[in-house]
Structures are given as structure tokens and as C-alpha cells.
């Protein structure tokens, strides 16, 4: 049996999405800048996708810019707003548990003379909002927090953060990286009070290489890329039209089935969690229940190493991700696991299982029959006993 449980990394493209994209490769291949019919067809397709995506996040179509993915959207948002507001202040706030596509950009800005605070999180991964209030200053121009943590599934209190920022006299822009949260939790830019939101297509059964950035009207933002402007000032270059069409179709499907899919993933998630809890010396990372992404199960099996576990599960047809130091090039445990206080030796045995609407009950039965066996097998060959950790 083949079971794909790494949907937090990327998802299979929905067949309906592929179908929607196909004509845009060979028949409707025009460039959207010219008003001849082929070009118009492409421009219309972009507009339609903008409308669909805007509706899904309660925004207006003109506020949606297409990008090459959430990584580029994060970079455009953070650097773009930092540069445009540098005269008002040079202080940014983010968290210790953001995706590298946020952290690396912040580190870059530090090199350029900006100051960045990285907020701590508690043992379940929740951002410390009291600490946020303390760090806000007259120099702060931007706060960036993901709505869902991509490693341990914590649903962050972004609405509360939005509220805190709105109450300030001085405008502080709020960026939300919603790549891991889109399709798992509601993303309403008005409710959140977000000025910028990053989205990704390939995590919601759309194609890779396309994403979007929501920029609330009136947000001062400088382009960080330069070149030939096609449709969007912020993002030069010819648009990935088939990708954008696919993204739009993926969002349509996501919105049509949102409640059903969330309920389905939640049920499978909770089955996995209760199954893993029966394995001795196992920790579930992140919160339980409503404050956890319906798609995420992060588990530390003490006394074994995650890369070995990942490869053994792969031998059994199951694809997962790991937070083990061994699986990174820096040989450091995941920064998220470190931030929630996991000892390196425990982080060592961390596996992330992430669900999608396509996973089935049978796949969960199978996974629950394989995982305990592999855990036992690896613990048997380990010199470190789980009870020592």
C-alpha cells in the first residue's frame, strides 16, 4: 500500500486542476499583456483566478498578486514593506518558529540595518502575545506571524495579534504567512486584520511554482524585483498562466469542500494521534483539538532517529517528514522543535505526518499497523533507551 502523509511539504495536484490547466499550455498560451484574443484569454484567466482567490480570503481581486510561491510572497511582503517604511522605523517582529522563507529574509534585513525581534513560543508552539506587546515600539513597522505552524500544526492567535496591532495609534503592518494554514483553517484577511498574506498553490492540490500575495489596498510596499512588468508591478516577468489557472481551480475545489475536508482530516488526525499515544515513550508535539491544524500530527518517538524512521516507513510505502538533525545539512534539530523546548535527543526521533482530503481510513489503519512495528524495530537497535530521555 502507498500512503502519502507528507502533504505539509507538498500535495498531489487534483485531477480537476490538471484538466483546467491543460488548455493553457497548448491552445490558450498567449501572453496577457496584448489585447489580441490570445492575450486577452490569458489576461481573463488571471483575472478569474484573482477573483476566486480574493473571495476565498475576503479580499478584493486587485489586492491579489501572483508569485512563484509562498517563499517569494514572503520575501516580497517583508522586504517590500520594510523598504517602503524605513523612514518610519527599522524594527520588525516575527517569531522563532517561522518558516525559513520568513526567517532568512529577516536575517537579511538585519544585515541591512533593520532590527528584528524573534518572539518565543510556549511548549505547544503558541506565540507569546504579551511578549509581542512588550516589544512593540515607535520604531516597529512590521509584524510577521504564520497562522499555522507548518511543523507542529499550532494555530497561532493571529486575530488577537491583529487586534493588538490595530489598537496602536501608529500603523504597524501585519504580514501572515498562510502557506500551511490555507485550506486547513479559515483565512479571512479582515477578521485577522492582516495587511499582507502569503499563499501557496502546491499545498492545496494546485501546481508547484505558483502562489500569491495579498496586499491590502494602500499598503506602502516597494518592489524587490525589477524587470519587465507584465501585469503586476511588484512581480516582474511573464506570469505563469497555466499555474495561475490551476491555482484558481484548486482554490475553487478547496472552498467547495472546505468543511467536509476539514472534518475528514480532523477525524484521521485524531485517529493517528490516539494510535500513536498508545506507543510507549511517545510525545505528541503541538496542541490538541481545535487549536491544532486538522492536517498535522507531529510525534516524537523517543530513542530512535527520524531519518532512519522516515526511510523505513518509505520501505513500507509511507511518506512522511522528519525534524531530526540528521536530515538537515546543518545537522541541527528543527528550530521549531528547539523553540518548544524539546531536547535534541527527543527532537531526533520526530516524525511529521500531514494529511490531505485524499487520505482514507484504510490508509490510516495501515499506517497505525506499520508505525508501532517500525518504532519497535528501531528502538531494538538503539543504544539509547527511550526511558533515559
Amino acid at each position: 500500500m502507498r500512503v502519502y502523509l507528507d502533504n505539509g511539504t507538498t500535495t498531489p495536484v487534483a485531477p480537476e486542476v490538471v484538466e483546467a490547466m491543460l488548455p493553457y499550455f497548448t491552445e490558450k498560451f498567449g501572453h496577457p499583456v496584448f489585447p489580441y484574443s490570445l492575450g486577452q484569454e490569458a489576461a481573463d484567466a488571471v483575472e478569474r483566478a484573482q477573483e476566486i482567490i480574493a473571495r476565498s480570503i475576503n479580499a478584493r481581486p486587485e489586492e491579489v498578486v501572483f508569485t512563484s510561491g509562498a517563499t517569494q510572497a514572503n520575501d516580497m511582503a517583508i522586504r517590500g514593506v520594510a523598504y517602503a517604511n524605513r523612514n518610519r522605523g527599522r524594527h520588525l517582529i516575527t517569531t522563532k518558529v517561522e518558516n525559513p522563507s520568513v526567517l532568512r529574509v529577516c536575517e537579511r534585513l538585519e544585515k541591512e540595518g533593520f532590527r528584528v525581534d524573534y518572539l518565543p513560543v510556549d511548549a505547544e508552539g503558541f506565540v507569546d502575545t504579551a511578549e509581542l506587546e512588550k516589544r512593540l515600539s515607535d520604531e516597529t513597522i512590521l509584524v510577521s506571524v504564520a497562522n499555522v505552524n507548518d511543523e507542529i500544526g499550532t494555530i497561532e492567535p493571529v486575530e488577537e495579534i491583529g487586534e493588538i496591532l490595530r489598537e496602536r495609534q501608529r500603523k504597524i503592518y501585519f504580514h501572515v504567512n498562510a502557506a500551511a494554514g490555507y485550506g486547513r483553517v479559515e483565512v479571512d484577511v479582515k477578521k485577522i486584520g492582516a495587511d499582507l498574506v502569503s499563499l501557496s498553490a502546491h499545498k492545496i492540490h494546485g501546481p508547484k511554482g505558483v502562489g500569491a500575495l495579498y496586499v491590502a489596498e494602500g499598503t506602502p510596499i516597494e518592489p524587490v524585483y525589477f524587470g519587465y512588468i507584465s501585469l503586476f508591478n511588484l512581480r516582474p516577468g511573464t506570469e505563469n498562466i497555466p499555474g495561475i489557472v490551476g491555482f484558481g481551480r484548486a482554490v475553487e475545489l478547496m472552498m467547495e469542500n472546505f468543511e467536509r475536508d476539514v472534518a475528514h482530516m480532523t477525524r484521521l488526525r485524531d485517529r493517528l494521534i490516539s494510535g500513536f499515544e498508545e506507543i510507549p515513550h511517545t510525545l505528541i508535539n503541538g496542541p490538541r483539538g481545535k487549536k491544532r491544524s486538522p492536517a498535522n500530527v507531529s510525534c516524537s518517538f523517543k530513542g530512535l532517529e527520524g531519518e532512519s524512521m522516515m526511510l523505513h516507513l518509505d520501505l513500507n510505502g509511507i511518506s512522511v517528514a522528519t525534524g531530526s538533525a540528521c536530515s538537515t545539512t546543518k545537522l541541527e534539530p528543527s528550530h521549531v522543535l528547539t523553540a518548544i523546548g524539546l531536547k535534541a535527543a527527543v527532537a531526533h526521533g520526530t516524525i511529521r505526518f500531514t494529511l490531505s482530503r485524499y487520505n482514507t481510513e484504510e490508509e490510516i489503519d495501515y499506517t497505525l499497523s506499520v508505525v508501532p512495528r517500525v518504532v519497535e524495530q528501531l528502538r531494538r537497535i538503539s543504544p539509547v533507551k527511550p526511558e533515559q530521555l
Partner: protein, 141 residues
């Protein structure tokens, strides 16, 4: 600027290494070993334990345990295979490169896994020498 590894490295293991990882021949505990040595890799947090049974200065049996990645398990298994049946003096001459070569090469980033099993072997052999010092034949080679 050079192209660097990605955050979650791009790892490509050789078929040989993967085969070893899937079916290690020498993994497990040993009862009554002559020496046991343990080493940890401070970089990634692994532990490696090696058991040697030595008779008349010859390694008649060897086994290992690993709290580590696929490369760690494979290099551990290969290290054991390369020294089993050898004399202590022969085992002392083993090189890290031989371990890696026998596995069809190692990704650069995983070289330290081979180093770990190698270091543990050296430690075990040194301990053996120490325990024998003065009692049996002097170290040779």
C-alpha cells in the same frame, strides 16, 4: 557565490548504502563482549555503540547499535564487516575512506557518520590494548 545545499539537504544515497541500511548484517546486542565502546556525535546528537569479541588478538565477532541515520547504520554495519575476522593490529589500520568506499561513497555531509563508527572502533581497540597491557603479547604494528 556558490550553490549551497538546501535547508533540508538534498541527499542522495548510493544503492549500496541503502541496501546496507535496509538489511544490516551485524546490528544488535552482544552478550559477553571483550570490549564495548560508545561514542556520540556532538554535531547531530547520535550515539553509536560497538561490541567486540576478541580471542587471541583476533576479532571473532562484532556487533553494533545505532541511534542515528541511515548513513550511520550503514557505515556501522560496514565497519563491523571490515574488521570481523581480522587481527586487532589489522583492524587498527582501517581507514575511514575504506568504509565509505565499501558503501559506494557517502554524501559529503554524511561523512561524519562514518567518522563516528570509525572513532568508536578506535576507542574499542584502544581499550582492548589497555586491558591487555603487560598481560599478553605487546601491541604490534
Amino acid at each position: 557565490m556558490t550553490v549551497e545545499y538546501t535547508e533540508r539537504g538534498m541527499l542522495k544515497y548510493s544503492e549500496k548504502l541503502l541496501e546496507r541500511f535496509r538489511n544490516p548484517k551485524h546490528i544488535g546486542e552482544m552478550e559477553n563482549p571483550t570490549v564495548v565502546a560508545e561514542e556520540g556525535d556532538p554535531q547531530c546528537g547520535d550515539m553509536f555503540r560497538l561490541y567486540l569479541k576478541i580471542e587471541d588478538d583476533r576479532i571473532v565477532d562484532a556487533k553494533f547499535l545505532s541511534f542515528g541515520c541511515a548513513a550511520n547504520i550503514a557505515t556501522g554495519d560496514m565497519t563491523v564487516e571490515l574488521v570481523k575476522g581480522k587481527t586487532v593490529a589489522e583492524a587498527e589500520r582501517l581507514q575511514i575512506k575504506e568504509i565509505a568506499d565499501a558503501l559506494g561513497g557517502l554524501p559529503l555531509i554524511k561523512m561524519h557518520c562514518a567518522v563516528l563508527s570509525y572513532k568508536t572502533l578506535k576507542k574499542a581497540l584502544a581499550e582492548y590494548r589497555k586491558s591487555r597491557a603487560g598481560s599478553v603479547s605487546p601491541p604490534q604494528g
